[in-house]
Amino acid sequence: MSYLTLEKVGKIFGSSSVVSDFDLAVERGEFVSVLGPSGCGKTTVLRMVAGFERPSFGSIRIGGEDVTVQPANRRRIGMVFQAYALFPNMNVRDNVAFGLKVAGMDRRAIAGRVEEMLSLISLGHLAERYPYQLSGGQQQRVALARALAPRPKLLLLDEPLSALDAKIRVSLREDIRRIQRELAITTLFVTHDQEEALSIADRVVVMHRGRADQIASPLEIYNRPATRFVAEFVGTLNLFDAEMAQPGVLRFAGLNVETPMALTCRADEKIVVGLRPETLSLERRTEDDLSVTGTMLSTSFLGAVIRAQIDVDGRVIRLDMLNRGAGRLPPIGETVELRFSKHDLLVLSN
């Protein structure tokens, strides 16, 4: 049985349903990211697990125990907030010690555990500082140490990196993952940033309109998105309207393509096919390459990658190519052949 399970969990605020039929099973020690746009219900899911919101339907179990109606302060959950939420009247040491004092540990044990936590986040030298004397990244590290100090059953992270600048975000993200692995603590991480979610988690839950559209490994989410929403939300995608010309043959962009995967669509049913920008090429790679003709609209230099925008029958298609230093880019306005393999096609329900 999974360590954390949410079964048919739903939440209604007033007359609007924010989360519905949400199922999730997280194994002990697993790191799961909940990814979705603003208002998709991901924070509400986290708050229900934390005990700050009571589900309108369904049940939540942690370590086999039903905690659906248990108050937040009895759940033994460590939580890190977007706004740090360090206690301004306490210094770093007292902040980290707070949960231990509440648990009634004796002084010496508290002091030892606080030192251990501070060395885990490498901030032992700032123990006497107050929150307002720390940078955002340091505050969030302290918040992490404070959440972990009482040895919680579960670690919940509510967009903990959103308020930080790009470099600190990456380094703290790596620290969170390192600490999570060291302590083998079951973790739920909520974010709207797909790069964050994909890079840090064992599994990703993509939420859309209060439901989990797909729960899978980061690779699977990116390479085999289950729905059009997942495909569009995670990464960049070129979409083409398509239809089944005959069983096993898709028609789109003037091409008839034998599908490599089994499709259960009816003939003439409208479907959508997607192609990631990095699967497109201006050069022929194999004999089986398919191609469509387009016109170069613009190119933008993104460092390691050059992104080209190409007009194909009035639709703007994005193409990414690795910047290999040499090589000529077609000038703007030139007609180009856009090539791809049928194996890279993502067939999505509309």
């Binding site: 939420a85 210094n91 959440a147």
Partner: protein, 274 residues
């Protein structure tokens, strides 16, 4: 640039004359009890009066009780409204401003009617009951200031996240209020306490109509048949209030790391602060 700097300076000078002028004049008058000489005779006369000391002690005790009761009433209310009932905040703020609209004389007659000898709770029939009514009256009068000070203090900190952080660490609501919320709004409470104290100490209408031996009625009585002593009393009351404020400020900011909360009142309320 110089012209721009001149205007605020001129405003400051005019304001200083406006506010300090009467104070200086009263102080000067209080020193002229002995004809042709500047002495502290009026002060000596006041301080040697046992009635004065009794009135001051009584009003101080009632004011301190009002501070404690006011803080116990306002802090949890303002906290709960911000945490759980944010939609009701404007209503609660309106209710807290009611004492500015209802004159104290209406309030005290309301008290006498509701808690009179023929009521279910006849507080006016005993000395303790009347004192309690007096304290409640002071709390009511200072409610607009206490509530606004505390509410501003709560507005500076993110009480929702702090409360949730404390709860996730196992703390009960009571522990959260005592160890997280209260220390972070301490300077706001102290500001409210100071205002409560300064309003209550010289309060006349409620104290007089409830027939209590307070400082306000004493000052009026002295003013009726003496000339220099009331001036000395006014200066002493002023100095006393300022000393209290300085002490409260000192105690409030003792611990490092405490947020200092500047309280901001709307203009219409500032003139009512005595």
């Amino acid at each position: 640039m110089k012209r721009i700097a001149f205007v605020p300076a001129a405003v400051a000078v005019v304001a200083a004359i406006f506010f300090l002028g009467p104070l200086v004049a009263t102080f000067d008058f209080s020193l002229r009890m002995v004809r042709g000489d500047l002495t502290l005779e009026a002060y000596r006369s006041v301080l040697s009066s046992e009635v004065f000391l009794g009135a001051l002690a009584f009003s101080s005790a009632a004011s301190l009780a009002a501070i404690v009761l006011g803080a116990l009433l306002v802090v949890p209310t303002a906290y709960w409204v911000r945490l759980k009932l944010p939609r009701l905040r404007s209503l609660v703020e309106f209710v807290s401003l009611m004492p500015l609209i209802i004159p104290p004389v209406v309030l005290v007659f309301g008290f006498i009617r509701v808690y009179g000898s023929s009521s279910v709770l006849p507080l006016t029939t005993s000395e303790v009951g009347i004192n309690l009514l007096l304290v409640i009256g002071y709390v009511t009068l200072s409610l607009p200031y206490m509530f606004r000070a505390v509410d501003n203090g709560l507005g500076v900190i993110d009480i929702v996240s702090l409360t949730e952080a404390a709860e996730s660490l196992g703390a009960s609501k009571l522990r959260t209020i005592a160890t997280v919320i209260f220390p972070n709004v301490r300077s706001a409470i102290v500001s409210g306490a100071f205002l409560t104290f300064s309003i209550s100490l010289g309060e006349f209408v409620i104290t007089s109509l409830l027939n209590r031996p307070g400082f306000g009625p004493y000052m009026v009585r002295v003013g009726q048949d003496q000339a220099y002593q009331p001036a000395a009393l006014a200066i002493m009351a002023f100095a006393f209030t300022w000393v209290c404020m300085a002490l409260m400020e000192f105690f409030a900011t003792q611990r490092p790391g405490t947020l200092k909360v500047p309280i901001r009142f709307p203009k219409f309320m500032r003139r009512n602060v005595t």
